[in-house]
Amino acid sequence: MADVPILIDAGRCVGCGKCVKGCGFGALKLVEAPGANRSGKIAEVDPSACKACSACVAACPFNAISEIKAGICGTEGIEGYRDVWVFAEQSGGKIAEVSFELLGKGLELKSQRGDGCRLCAVLLGSGITSEMTAALSSAGADVVYAVDDPKLADYEAGVYVDAVSKLIIRHKPEVLLAGATAIGRAFFARVAARVRTGLTADCTELKVVETTNKDACAAQMLLHQTRPAFGGNIMATIMTPNHRPQMATVRPKVFKKKVGVVGGRAEVVREVLDLVSPRTRIANANRNPDAVDIAAAEVLVAGGRGLKSAAAFAQLEELAKLLGGEVAASRAAVDAGWIPQCRQVGQTGKAVAPKLYLCFGISGAIQHLEGIRGADRIIAVNSDPDAPIFGMADVGIVGDALAIIPALTAELKKGRG
C-alpha cells in the first residue's frame, strides 16, 4: 500500500493551487470536489510521487497541509499500539446487536491490517457469564477482555470511562469501535477526552490504509472513517493520524452482522481494575427491552406531513400489520404529535435498514433520506411529483396518500382471504 506522507485538511483547503506550483515533484494536483469550498476544488497528493519534502506545507497560505509525524501526541508516541477493539455493549446480560455488527466489520479491518493484528472485544458488567463471552467468541473475537465488577452492574458514565480508559492504557489498541447507541455515544466521547484522542461519530464506512511513514519506527495503520456531514449531503473522510487509539462510533444497522463466522476460540482475559466509584445511581429503571425498535424491523410503513392527522397513522398501523412490519414516521409527523419520537426515522431519529421502506406523504428532507439509505427497497407515495423522496425511491407513486392507503389495505386483505 502507498504511503500517505502529507495530510491535506479538506476543511481548510480552498483550492487555490499554490501547493501544486510549490511542489517540485508534480505530486499534487487539484481535483473536483463540489461543495467543498467556493472553488469546488481541493488539492490531492499522489503518494507515489511525493517525497515528503514539505515544500507544500510552507507554500500553503491556509495551513491546510501538514506532514504526518509519528509520536507527537505524547511521550510514548503511537508505536506499540496494535489490535482492533470493539466495545461489547450489554444490558441485563444481553449483548447489543450492534456489537456483533461491529465485530463483523472488525474482522475485515483485522485482515486488511494483517501483521498479527487481533480482534478483541471489551465486555463490562457484573456477573459476566460464559454465554456472553462465548457469543463474542463465536462472532470472531480473538480475545475478550472481561471486566467483572459490582461497580459495573449498571451503566454509569464515569465508571465505564474509567474501565475502558484503564484497559486502553494497559493494552494499547490501535482502533476502538463502539455502537452509536445512547450509552456508546456518551461515554466514548468522554473516553476520547480522557486519553486525548480523536473520535468520529456515526461512521458509515471504515477502511484501513497502511502507511510506512519515514518518521515512524514501524508501519502504522490509519483508519479512514467516513461519515455524512451537513445533513448527509456531503460525505467526509476523517483520520486520526497522530493519536491512538483511533476511535469511531457506528450506528446500529449500518454494517450487517456477519453470518457463518468460524470463531469460538477466543482467549478470555479477566481483567481486574481498581475502578472509581459511581457518582450517580439508578433510583428506578423502567426497562422495556421489548419496545419496538424500528431499526430492527424488516418492513417499515412510514408516514409524514402528508398524512395530515393522527387518525391516518391508525390506518397506517393496520397496513403495517398486514405486511408484518412496523410504523415509522418523519420528523414533521413526530413534531405534529401524531406519533411518538421513538418511531422517527432520519438524522435526529434512527437510521433504518429494512427490506422494504414504504412511505406515504414524506417529501424527503435530506435528513430523512440519510436515515433510509440502508433500505433494500424504497417505495414512496407523494402527491408532489417533484418531491425529493422520488430521487431515492425505487418505485415512486404520484398520488394522494390518504386515498392510496385504504385502497392498498383493502387489496392486501382481499389477497389474504
Partner: protein, 263 residues
Amino acid sequence: MIIVVCIKQVPDSTSVRINPETNTLMREGAESMVNPFDEYALELALALKDSDGAHVTVVSMGPPQATAVLREALARGADEAFLVSSRAFGGADTLATSYTLSQAILKACGGTKPDLVLFGKQAVDGDTAQVGPGVSEFLDMPLVTYVRELRVDSEAKAFSATTVMDDGEYVVEGALPAVMTVLKEAAAPRFAPLAGAMSAAKAKIAVLDEKAIAADPARIGLQGSPTKVVAIFPPPSRGGGRKMEWNGDAASIAAIVKEAIDG
C-alpha cells in the same frame, strides 16, 4: 445555584437548499438559528431560575455573529452571556472544542465550577453529541445524558433526572455538580418578553479568547484537534427508479409491495 448553558449557532436546515445541478448545499443565504436542542437546555435552566433563583450563564463558542444566539438567551432571561471566540479556535474538532469550552466555563464562573452545566443532546449541524461528554471529562463532573425530566433540590445540591436510553427509561440520582445533555421533552421554550429583548439588544457581551481562558495553545484549534478531514465527496447516489401516476389500480401496487418483501 450557578447554571451554565452551552448554546451553539447552527445553520437553519430548513433554509438550506440543494443546488439541483451540482447536488451540493447552497449555504449562501442560509439563515442561522439557535441549535434547537440547546433551547430546551436553556429553558430548563430558566425554569430553575424561576423556581429556585438560579443564576443562569450562557456560553457560546463561534464566530462574532454567534452573539445573536446569546442575545436571544439574554432576552429570554439568562443573567450573563459569554462569547468564546478567536481565530486561534478555528478548525477545532470535538476534543479541542470540549477543552476550550470547559476552560471558558471556568472563566465565566470566576474560576470555580458551576453547579450544573447543560447542553442540548446534540447540535443539528454536526450531530456528534460528543462535546457535552467531553466537557464533563475536563470539568471532572458526573455525566447524565438524554435527560427528559429534571428535578433539582438546590439546597441539598442533589438532582433526580429521568433519562431515555435505548432499552427504557431510567431515573438517575446524584449530587451536584453535574453535566447533562437534554432532550426535547425536557422543556417547552418560552418566548422572549419585549422588555427582555430591548435590554438584551443593549447588553454587553464579554468575548473570551485564548488568553482570557488561559488555554494551552497545543490543545485548541486545528493544532489541538486529533481528527483531520482528508476528503470530502458527494454521497453515493442511489438514483430514483421508476415513477408512476396513481390511477386507482391498487392491485399492481400490492404486487410491487409483495415482490419487495418476498424478494
